[in-house]
């Protein structure tokens, strides 16, 4: 996997405007305002500030999870409705290490991610080749198996149906995180990191290869992409991230039980990604706010809240089947950016890669430069049936030549 990019390249690739035409500085101000919310709440003396911070923490946690699912479902197009399983593995690894072996919470973070990743690699290996709906039901099955295993106190470690209680708090440099606003900064820093990391992942060779697999697995295989391996890799990356989220969840809640990781949770994550706009980070973020935050605003309606939620999902899908903020059709300029920004000499015949970079889908040499560039040209993730005709606004999906203009990739 190579997403090595020079700083110059990063700067040139920075998004300049939001899709709606909001300038970047407004977005920066918005982010800063969001991160000062705990202080704003305190300044205006909001009595329920702790409650609203908890709501925002939940939104943030689900945003991290949904963004990691987005790699699998949105970018790679695998119908994966079992993300709660990896989340559960991370949370339980943290809880067990902390309770039984006295590990510090943050020390368990890498282990939780690793465990979730290994678990994903083990279970996804034999099923990764399954077609869409078959994969969907199998991933649901994995969630159910995990939930039942946890309920049955597997290995005598998971505490059965009651779960595990009294999980410790994380501490950073001796500062113990206990209050909602502590977690607010922890979680939303995590969200920011996730956004940045997955943004670059999406625009790396790996990310583009995933998109290609989503659009046309046969053609992707045809030009030498090892689709099985890359799909598995996407699965593992998403799972590792869900494992990290599990660590944060366990230390925030202090109590975890199998019920926190059921099929319903997976459905919520799936819904967030599709509702927000599969493959679009901004969309997924907005989806997390709508699905996890909005019901809290309408808490006074109590029982009928979920009724309205279900109906709203149907209505939303009818009117915006591509999601609220669908990803823009991306364009890629020629020559490939790393050739220009690395200051490399024009590509030698037979390879357009910078020195020392090997393609993610093989030992190198499987692909020749020109084939590679044209075939990774632009995709419209909505396909020809995009409902609102927006697909037609962008450059036609199949023209690889956009000249030497700056790449305008945005998520």
């Amino acid at each position: 996997m190579s997403f090595k990019l020079s700083l110059r390249a990063l700067w040139d690739r920075r998004p300049r405007r939001l899709p709606a035409g909001i300038p970047l500085w407004a977005e920066i101000v918005g982010v800063l305002a969001f991160f000062s919310l705990p202080w704003i709440f305190r300044a205006i003396g909001l009595a329920t500030s702790a409650y609203w911070l908890e709501v925002l923490n939940t939104v943030g946690l689900y945003a991290i999870l949904a963004l990691s699912l987005n790699v699998i479902l949105g970018h790679c197009g695998m119908f994966h409705m079992g993300h709660a399983a990896f989340f559960a593995v991370g949370a339980y690894v943290t809880a067990v290490l902390n309770l039984n072996y006295g590990w510090a919470i943050l020390a368990t973070l890498p282990v939780a991610g690793l465990a979730a990743g290994l678990f994903a690699a083990a279970v996804a290996g034999p099923i990764i080749h399954l077609r869409g709906d078959y994969l969907l039901i199998v991933t649901i099955g994995i969630v159910e198996i995990i939930r039942i295993a946890l309920t049955n106190d597997i290995f005598g470690l998971t505490g059965g149906p009651n779960g595990l209680m009294g999980i410790g708090r994380p501490s950073i440099f001796g500062w113990r995180l206990t209050r909602p606003w502590h977690f607010f900064y922890l979680i939303w820093t995590g969200v920011a990191l996730t956004l940045i990391l997955f943004h670059f992942l999406e625009h790396s060779r790996f990310g583009r290869a995933l998109k290609f697999i989503k659009e046309d697995p046969v053609a992707a295989e045809g030009i030498g992409i090892n689709t099985t391996r890359l799909k598995l890799l996407a699965f593992v990356i998403g799972a590792v991230w869900a494992g990290f989220a599990g660590t944060i969840f366990a230390s925030r809640m202090r109590t975890i039980s199998p019920d926190s990781f059921n099929f319903g949770e997976s459905v919520i994550l799936f819904t967030i990604v599709i509702l927000g706009g599969s493959g679009s980070q901004r969309g997924v973020l907005l989806g997390s706010f709508l699905v996890m935050g909005l019901p809290e605003v309408f808490r006074k309606f109590q029982d009928s809240r979920l009724l309205v939620f279900g109906a709203a999902l149907v209505v939303m899908m009818i009117f915006r089947p591509q999601g609220l903020i669908p990803p823009r059709p991306s364009k890629y300029s020629l020559p490939a950016p790393w050739d220009r920004y690395d200051g490399a000499t024009p590509p030698a015949p037979g390879g357009g890669r910078g020195p020392g970079e090997s393609p993610p889908w093989g030992k190198g040499g499987t692909l020749k430069g020109p084939v590679y560039r044209q075939s990774l040209a632009p995709t419209d993730t909505r396909g020809p049936l995009g409902a609102d005709g927006a697909a037609k606004k962008g450059p036609s999906g199949l023209s690889p030549q956009t000249g030497g203009r700056d790449p305008q990739e945005e998520s």
Binding site: G141, I274, G310
Partner: protein, 301 residues
């Protein structure tokens, strides 16, 4: 041996119920390539409508046991079919040309909506069918005693499946359904009204699902607004095991799953019963990635 016969007959009965639900999934999938996640809730709706008819309206008390249940079966099937038809009109028809994932989320939304509508209407606590709705008799069969309820439910399921099999394979409408399942475009060119086919499928499927709900109520007694989720998942698993889109496959898959679950619970572990279903699913799909029987639908590239 006695124990085995009991578990085996129980497995067949539960399997018959799974098969009835699975038929709804597989028919809808065959024609629309859509996983109807709300199907589990239609099943629950059937159980609750049956509860209202049999317990609140006391059909069996007024009409007698056999006639009362017969009328209830017909009414439940009719009402749930109506609900299924409405569901298709409201939640799926507008999405027929959209991305498949959008339709899946719409189905999930419809499922959440129906589940909560059922909860708000009938309450969140368990409801129970009365135990004396069917005569509490045991039949002697090959030296074994098997409860009459079990036999009746199994026979009902088999009879309905047989009727469906004949309907699909021997009538013009059935032929249209098969044609639409194989290739919608070609079916349209042949003059088949695919919208009408989908409407028919969304009447038959929910009717069978609702009937299954009623049978579960009669068999077990207690019903719950959330029960459709697990039954739905298992029935969908059964449909996948049999090869989704394949009607005979759903019947075979349902019966197989019922047997595996019943025998697994008896001989392996009750606590792991539900997990066993999915383990079997994964094993079968690893060996045969498109289910046991070949898929009827052409692969969409």
């Amino acid at each position: 041996m006695d124990f085995f016969i009991q578990q085996f007959s129980n497995g067949l009965t539960v399997g018959g119920i799974y098969a009835l639900i699975a038929l709804g999934y597989t028919m809808v999938y065959g024609v629309m390539k859509l996983i109807n996640f709300a199907h589990g809730e239609l099943f629950t709706l059937g159980a609750y409508v049956g509860f209202t008819l049999l317990v609140s309206f006391n059909f069996t008390g007024i009409l007698g046991s056999a006639l009362g249940i017969g009328v209830a079966v017909l009414l439940v099937s009719f009402l749930v079919a109506l609900a299924g038809h409405l569901l298709e009109r409201v939640a799926y028809r507008p999405l027929r040309r959209s991305d498949r994932l959008a339709a899946v989320v719409s189905a999930l939304g419809a499922s959440i909506f129906l589940q909560n509508a059922i909860m708000l209407n009938w309450g969140a606590q368990n409801r129970a069918y009365k135990a004396d709705l069917l005569p509490n008799v045991t039949l002697r069969f090959l030296g074994q005693s098997v409860p009459l309820t079990r036999v009746l439910i199994f026979l009902t399921a088999v009879a309905v499946m047989l009727a469906l099999y004949l309907f699909i394979n021997r009538t013009r409408i059935g032929m249209a359904i098969r044609a639409a399942a194989i290739d919608q475009g070609a079916a349209k060119l042949m003059g088949i009204d695919v919208s009408a086919v989908i409407a028919v499928v969304f009447i038959i499927g929910p009717a069978l699902g609702g009937l299954a709900g009623l049978l579960v109520g009669l068999y077990y007694g207690p019903i719950n607004f959330g029960m459709g989720q697990l039954y739905g998942l298992k029935a969908f698993t059964a449909a996948i095991i049999g090869g989704i889109g394949n009607i005979q496959g759903a019947m075979v898959g349902g019966l197989l799953l019922g047997l595996v679950e019943s025998l697994g619970a008896a001989y392996i572990s009750v606590a792991w019963k539900d997990a066993l279903t999915f383990v079997v699913l994964i094993l079968i799909l690893v060996a045969r990635p498109t289910g046991l029987l070949p898929e009827r639908v052409a692969e969409k590239l």
